[in-house]
Amino acid sequence: MNYEQLLSDMMQKDDRYMILTAENRSAMRNISNTIPDRFIDTGIAEQTMVGMAAGLASRGRIPIVHALATFLTLRAFEFIRTDIGIANLPVKLVGAVPGFLSDGNGPTHQAIEDVSLMRGIPTMNVFCPADEEDLILGIEKIFPYNSPFYIRYNNLKPVVKHSPFEIGKAEVLFEGDIMILTYGLLLKEALLAREILLSENISAGVINMRSLKPLDRETVSDYCRRSDLIVTLEDHFITGGLFSILSEMMVFENISCEIFPIGLKSWFKPALLNDVLEYEGFTGKAIAHKISKKFKSDNNLFKLSW
């Protein structure tokens, strides 16, 4: 089962679903032929596409809207916020090649503030799947959900067997003294980092933060209270993403714990994905090294100050 097959099945069963795309057809190559009536390609016109989606939703449709994540969340931002956000319409926004997935495109195509922008809209929800299996598990629940949703599209091959998806629930994959919280394609690197840390006798666990909004406050606050160190790992600006989400939550809930953010401070070096990860220090090995260094220096500081 891939994205297009599932979407196609859902559309066959329920004629409320409509596809809109701003000439971004990479995720669905055949639906324009099999269900042409409910497939609208607006051309490279993201604002018009989002406005039309709002109009269609006001008539009872569930528009599934596709564009590159940058142009969807940035070019059409005010249309998303004003026409979908204020009206609270159940439009589903699917942003392609977010974060490091933009490879060699360069900063124009780097959606690394998309989570920040979308979660800032009061009625909007945010889903960041770790891989194709996670994506499929998520959209089965999210597409029929009666609220707007941003989906940070990612169809990379699965790296782990996922548990069923629930809106507002994190997926705890491994427990540990240090907890690595991540989303999207970096889950794979987090799992590699965990193994390296274990080989150094550092106990690290991993949580897949697939539902960034609504946040699984219960699970996350619980781990914040009882972990030695919380690592937030994301291919997103540190400002506005998971690190910010956690920081806000901790202040609200009066939790004090150490957070180590691994994310982007600026735009990243454009290259093929594996080379980007290497260059920017986001391979499992580089992540493990950063965490291990941080953990050891924290412990040294603790001893010195004592």
Partner: protein, 285 residues
């Protein structure tokens, strides 16, 4: 639908203008733009569109979208006359106990979609038009655009896409009052020749006098709905129409008058005299 006579339409328009003028105090409203599209809105609701108090939620109704949302007093004044809302409710303008403020809100019966940010409701109305065509229903979809609003890139993006998708149930009306906020359109960002622009984009283009009910009736009834092209009517209008002391003035866009001035303007509406207005003009956006 029972058609109103020319005389009846004129009487209704006077009453709607009274409602509008009464909103131009205690905080004020966009008086000039509201008065320029009053007659178009009155004509559409009384003699063209299938929209009644009873069918506001019926998917077979026609649709009306006010993309230039700042002239909402004209819409609410019409709604009050139609009985969609109680006339007394207009006194809640800018009060926190209601939803009546400078731009449309969907909590007011009859408002299809909120607006205020320019350049949005062309695409939203296109989504509705697309769905109506897909379901093969005969709804007419009318969207009013401001001439200043045509500065927005999203209008031209939408104009391309509406033609490409053959949205021939869509009728855009440009309230061509020749002014945007503080300046004449042609002095800032000239939009003429407007008809040629839309023709080149693949639309059916018509002109009308936006204050002449006979002419409005004639033009709307000759629209070639269903011919594969979206429709646009460029309605020649006057900013501030009905109040000679503010007509066609660049500095009478947003107006907040004293109660005394409002009383004089209400007299001016019927007597055609001129009021000596001393309230500060507002030229900032």
């Amino acid at each position: 639908m029972q058609q109103k006579s020319l005389l009846e339409l004129e009487q209704i328009s006077f009453r709607v203008r009274e409602h509008i003028i009464r909103m131009a105090t205690n905080g004020g409203c966009f008086l000039g733009a509201s008065l320029s599209c009053t007659d178009i809105i009155v004509y559409l609701y009384y003699n063209y569109l299938n929209i009644t108090k009873q069918n506001l939620k019926d998917p077979s109704r026609d649709y009306f979208f006010l993309s230039k949302g700042h002239d909402v007093p004209a819409l609410y004044g019409t709604f009050a006359e139609l009985g969609f809302i109680d006339k007394e409710r207009l006194k809640n303008h800018l009060k926190t106990n209601d939803f009546i403020y400078w731009h449309p809100n969907v909590n007011i019966p009859g408002v299809e979609f909120h607006s205020g940010s320019l350049g949005h409701l062309l695409s939203v109305s296109m989504g509705v038009a697309f769905d109506c065509k897909l379901r093969d229903t005969k709804n007419k979809i009318v969207v009013i655009l401001g001439d200043g609003e045509l500065n927005e890139g999203s209008i031209w993006e939408g104009a391309l896409v509406a033609a490409a998708k053959h949205l021939d149930n869509l009728i855009a009306v440009v309230d061509r009052n020749k002014f945007q906020a503080n300046l004449a359109t042609e002095d800032l960002i000239p939009i003429e020749p407007l008809d040629q622009k839309f023709k080149a984009f693949g639309w059916n283009v018509f002109f009308c006098n936006g204050h002449d009910f006979n002419n409005l009736n004639e033009v709307f009834n000759k629209l070639p709905l269903g011919n594969g092209r979206p429709n646009i009517i460029i309605a020649d209008t006057v900013r501030g129409k009905g109040l000679p002391s503010i007509e066609a003035r660049a500095d009478r866009w947003f107006c907040n008058f004293t109660q005394d001035e409002i009383n004089l303007l209400l007299k001016e509406l019927y007597s055609k005299g001129k009021t000596n207005l001393t309230s500060e003009t507002l030229v900032v956006r």
